[in-house]
């Protein structure tokens, strides 16, 4: 399968710049995969693909409206905010259960990459 460079513009006035690459059997599939893998989160206003090795000007620009590229629905749930501050959350939970005379006594799961935790 061929490799296609993915190019994008962050704002309308920008020059095209390479933002990544996809493997695809043809230009239509390359555009589809480029959009789905590199422009799902408002990363830019335009996208294009170029078969690796082709001349610089041999761009195929993706169709679509800049306003809708990257989706129009609320995607905040996709951000990994749930994992931010896990340590602090754990401390708060420990404090709250300590107020009830309880404590977390289950051992940490084993660390498969070595170090720490019970086997």
């Amino acid at each position: 399968m061929e490799i296609w460079d993915v190019l994008g513009k962050r704002t309308a006035g920008d020059e095209w710049s390479v933002v990544g690459a996809v493997k695809a059997p043809d230009v239509h599939m390359a555009l589809l995969l480029a959009r789905e893998t590199h422009f799902r989160h408002k990363e830019g206003v335009a996208y294009a693909v170029r078969r690796r090795g082709d001349a610089e000007e041999a761009l195929t620009v993706g169709e679509g409206d800049a306003a809708t590229l990257g989706g129009v629905t609320d995607r905040s749930y996709r951000r990994q905010e749930a994992y931010a501050g896990v340590g602090a959350k754990l401390r708060r939970v420990a404090e709250r259960i300590a107020e009830r005379g309880l404590r977390i006594d289950r051992p940490r799961p084993p660390d498969l990459h070595g170090g720490g935790g019970d086997p």
């Binding site: 995969l33 789905e36 893998t37 409206d65 809708t68 609320d74 996709r78 749930a82």
Partner: protein, 292 residues
């Protein structure tokens, strides 16, 4: 909650539950799709479907009590409270099946949401205007893969055809009439009846399959057993025990008989729904009201 639900609520739940349940099935491919780029693409589509369900649940909350919220609506109902089409709950068999199902479902979704854009229910129209901008991508994805697999190699084409054959009958039941549909049509909330939508969808799918020389899949769903003469030579009109199916008449594919795989719009699901429901709602049921 849904036994005596208003016609509008049953419409919303049919739309939203289809997206939620199919989105869940799509998400089961994450990490397993044949190549990395498509893994990301299909996972994104799964998330889109769930986001669309969320928007529709938000509108449904307007007609429910204060003790309902999005999470409870999505995850806090009994299995017979879900109104998704049976097709959406079927397990993923192989990649060909999942793409065939996506092609049939997203074409159907495009047909019905296009009709609903002229609904008298303005709040629904506003939501669907957003949804359709993303669904256009899904349809493009489905059709691109459809054409690619249909064009070969042989093994890929066989997987696609197998998936189409396995899902076609239950895809028809996406358009199973809704409870109190007459009221929805009369009020203009549903501008086009489910039966008319089915006709338009089937004609469209028939054209695509014919163009790919895959219409033999439709021929294998021909209705059989209808109009059995009695010993006297008369044709009994009712009841009909015909196996439902599709037939080519006057240059287009049409639906004949009842629906295979029907019942989803009434809360009757297949044996595949309960394990899906247990998986989908497990965390919510174990910790109702939990927040991140």
């Amino acid at each position: 909650m849904t036994d005596d639900a208003s016609p509008r609520l049953t419409l919303l739940l049919a739309l939203a539950d289809d997206d939620l349940i199919l989105g869940h099935r799509h998400s089961e491919w994450t990490g397993w799709v044949p190549h990395l780029e498509e893994d990301l693409a299909f996972s994104s589509i799964a998330q889109d479907e769930m986001a669309h369900a969320r928007l529709l649940y938000g509108l449904a909350l307007d007609s429910l009590g204060e003790d309902w919220d999005e999470d409870r609506l999505a995850l806090g109902r009994a299995p017979d409270g879900y109104r998704n089409a049976v097709l959406c709950e079927r397990p993923n068999r192989d990649w060909g099946f999942s793409l065939a199902r996506q092609f049939l479902y997203d074409t159907a979704d495009d047909e019905r949401t296009s009709a609903l854009m002229s609904s008298s229910w303005k709040e629904l129209v506003e939501i669907l205007a957003l949804v359709r901008t993303e669904e256009a991508y899904h349809l493009d994805h489905a059709r691109t893969w459809f054409r690619r697999l249909a064009g070969g190699p042989v093994a890929a084409r066989e997987h696609l055809a197998g998936g189409l054959e396995a899902s076609l009958a239950e895809a028809l039941a996406i358009f199973e009439p809704l409870p109190a549909e007459e009221e929805l049509v009369a009020s203009g909330v549903l501008p086009v009846s489910s039966r008319e939508l089915l006709g338009a969808w089937l004609a469209r799918v028939g054209e695509e399959l014919e163009a790919a020389s895959l219409d033999y899949v439709l021929e294998r769903h021909a209705p059989v057993g209808d109009l059995v003469p009695t010993a006297s030579g008369e044709i009994e009109e009712t009841p009909s025990f015909a196996v439902p199916g599709v037939a080519r008449e006057d240059g287009r594919w049409v639906h004949r008989g009842d629906f295979a795989g029907s019942g989803g719009r009434w809360g009757r699901h297949s044996e595949d729904f309960t394990p899906l429901w247990e998986d989908l709602t497990g965390l919510y049921r174990a910790h109702p009201g939990a927040t991140w």
